[in-house]
């Protein structure tokens, strides 16, 4: 919920502290599992933190609350960021984070609706989350609910045709309760997005589908908060926030490096990563 009693500066500062904790958990989980995708989890960390710790209607004691805001991590491979936020909110015990990707864990390699408390939809096959979001937004309209559906998309993921099929249908039904956030980190699995499959201008593409588009720095908490708050006020149009980010953000040796898309750190790298994230505290 909006914590309007605090100033924007205070909220942003508080969220930055939480986001650091989220990043430490991400690195810890992937290191412990020796498997997972650090790059895209770190780039989305500030956005997902702002959603869960400030913007979204979410009650960890009542995960099936019908009026809750919905969240879909369409780029499902980045799920450590989601699991960290859910655990830190109290949806399940923190100690579960250590079980990521292990047999019998509630934390699957990609999000699993049936296994993880707080996960509203299974993902992991890219390009389909926006369609799921369209369905959830339509359901909200049909039930006359006020909830919003937030979807985090990868920029590489925008290659999938189904994304644009979803974009057209969101416009047709004037889904102003649908807010897509593109984690624009400029990398996908095989390299830089504009080399693998050029998608620019992304803003004009969404605009051409009659979406409202807001472009921000996806690591600036104040910009994130302002964009999300603006998105909540827009009527009759679906909203796309293009968040410019850095893949691997806050771990200097991972930043903008393709290899860190799906690689777990070894012990030495793990220690360095923790140090990097902690160092941010003094800044």
């Amino acid at each position: 919920m909006l914590t309007t009693s605090k100033t924007l500066d205070e909220r942003a500062k508080n969220l930055k502290t939480i986001a650091r904790e989220v990043r430490l958990n991400i690195i810890d989980m992937i290191y412990t599992a020796q498997s997972g995708h650090p790059g895209g989890a770190l780039s989305a960390a500030d956005i997902v933190t702002a959603l869960y710790f400030d913007i979204m209607k979410f009650d960890p004691k009542n995960l099936k609350w019908p009026d809750r805001d919905r969240f879909i991590l369409s780029k499902g491979h980045a799920c450590p960021v989601w699991y960290a936020c859910l655990a830190m909110k109290g949806a399940f015990p923190m100690k579960e984070l250590k079980t990521l990707r292990q047999l019998n864990s509630i934390l699957q390699g990609h999000p699993d609706k049936l296994k993880t408390p707080g996960v509203d939809m299974t993902t992991g096959s890219l390009g389909q989350g926006l369609s799921i979001g369209v369905g959830m937004a339509l359901e909200g309209k049909l039930e006359k609910k006020n909830y919003h559906v937030f979807i985090v998309l990868g920029d590489g993921e925008l290659n999938e045709g189904m994304i644009w099929e979803a974009a057209a249908s969101a416009h047709k039904y004037h889904l102003d309760n649908l807010i897509a956030i593109v984690d624009r980190n400029h990398l996908q699995m095989d390299g830089f997005t504009e080399e693998v499959m050029p998608m620019e201008p992304i803003n004009k593409k969404f605009q051409a589908f009659n979406w409202e588009v807001i472009t921000i720095d996806g690591h600036n908490m104040k910009e994130i908060l302002l964009a999300l708050e603006k998105a909540l006020t827009i009527k009759k149009r679906p909203i796309c926030i293009i968040a410019n980010t850095v893949k691997g953000k806050c771990v200097d040796f991972m930043e903008n490096i393709r290899e860190w898309h799906g690689l777990a750190p070894n012990e030495e790298q793990y220690k360095k990563a923790v140090e990097c994230i902690r160092k941010g505290e003094q800044e």
Partner: protein, 314 residues
Amino acid sequence: MKKADVATRKAFSQRMLEYGEMDKHFVVFEADIGYSTYSYLFGEKYPERYFNMGIAESNTMGAAAGMAADGRTVIACSYGVFITMRAIETVRTFICYPNLNVKFLSSHGGITAAIDGVTHQATEDIAFMTTLPNMKVLVPADTIAAKKCFDLAIKTSGPVFIRLMRDPLFDVYDPDEEFLLGGSKILEKGNDITIVSYGDIIFQALESSAMLKKEGISAEIIDMYSVKPFDYQTLINSISKTGALLVVENHQKRNGLGYELSNFCLKNYPVLFDNMGLDDTFAESGKYDLVIEKYGISANHIAKKAMEIINKRK
């Protein structure tokens, strides 16, 4: 049987790179997992014959069909789940129906992508691909087999699906071994029961055979690497000797090779029969060895099932 250095996905792509020198005609399509399928090796050497279509599997298969329309051979690369499920209608109607020369490098077959979880585990791929008319299906178990299956796929006309594994397991074949469409390999000779498998589970079958030996049971182990068409002659020869057949696969129990062979036996040569695979369930994330143990397709389970079948005879 020794530990393998490379996974079959990598071995296949290494051969694709070598073959690119001898055969300048074929091209490769990728869908943004080139560093995982290892197709990037080919792309680095032959950029003009390599097309990375991004994260867009249906478009990749459609474009592969278009490029193959006048007879060119195309190797289309992705993970099994995406080739066989995301893009299946394109594969069916635009590649299989017009019988085009598209060969599918399909990585992460079965639950060999154990750690990534269900979304990346192709456990229904054999059912989908063997059901498509004109499609042939190969599943190499090791490094040599993977390389030979590349050559075999190129030489076979029409669509060929090659199921590959994420992680290196074991090597069993010699470099001069021959692999044929509709062929199979008897890895161990035995008289009491025939155990048929393919891909990674062949190694579990071999391990189960060692366990069975201790119980005085000799199993004949057949690697049915050519899943479609399959080697019915070798199968008949074996089951007419053993009188019992167990089919084990890293796939849903339903509509895999087990169902195919049970149907064949019922019509042609009824014997004691059972089959093993995922029992109408999705698997989960975890270490490969632990996942195949939990879902009942490890050597222990195979040995136990083989004993059960044999005990029925007594």
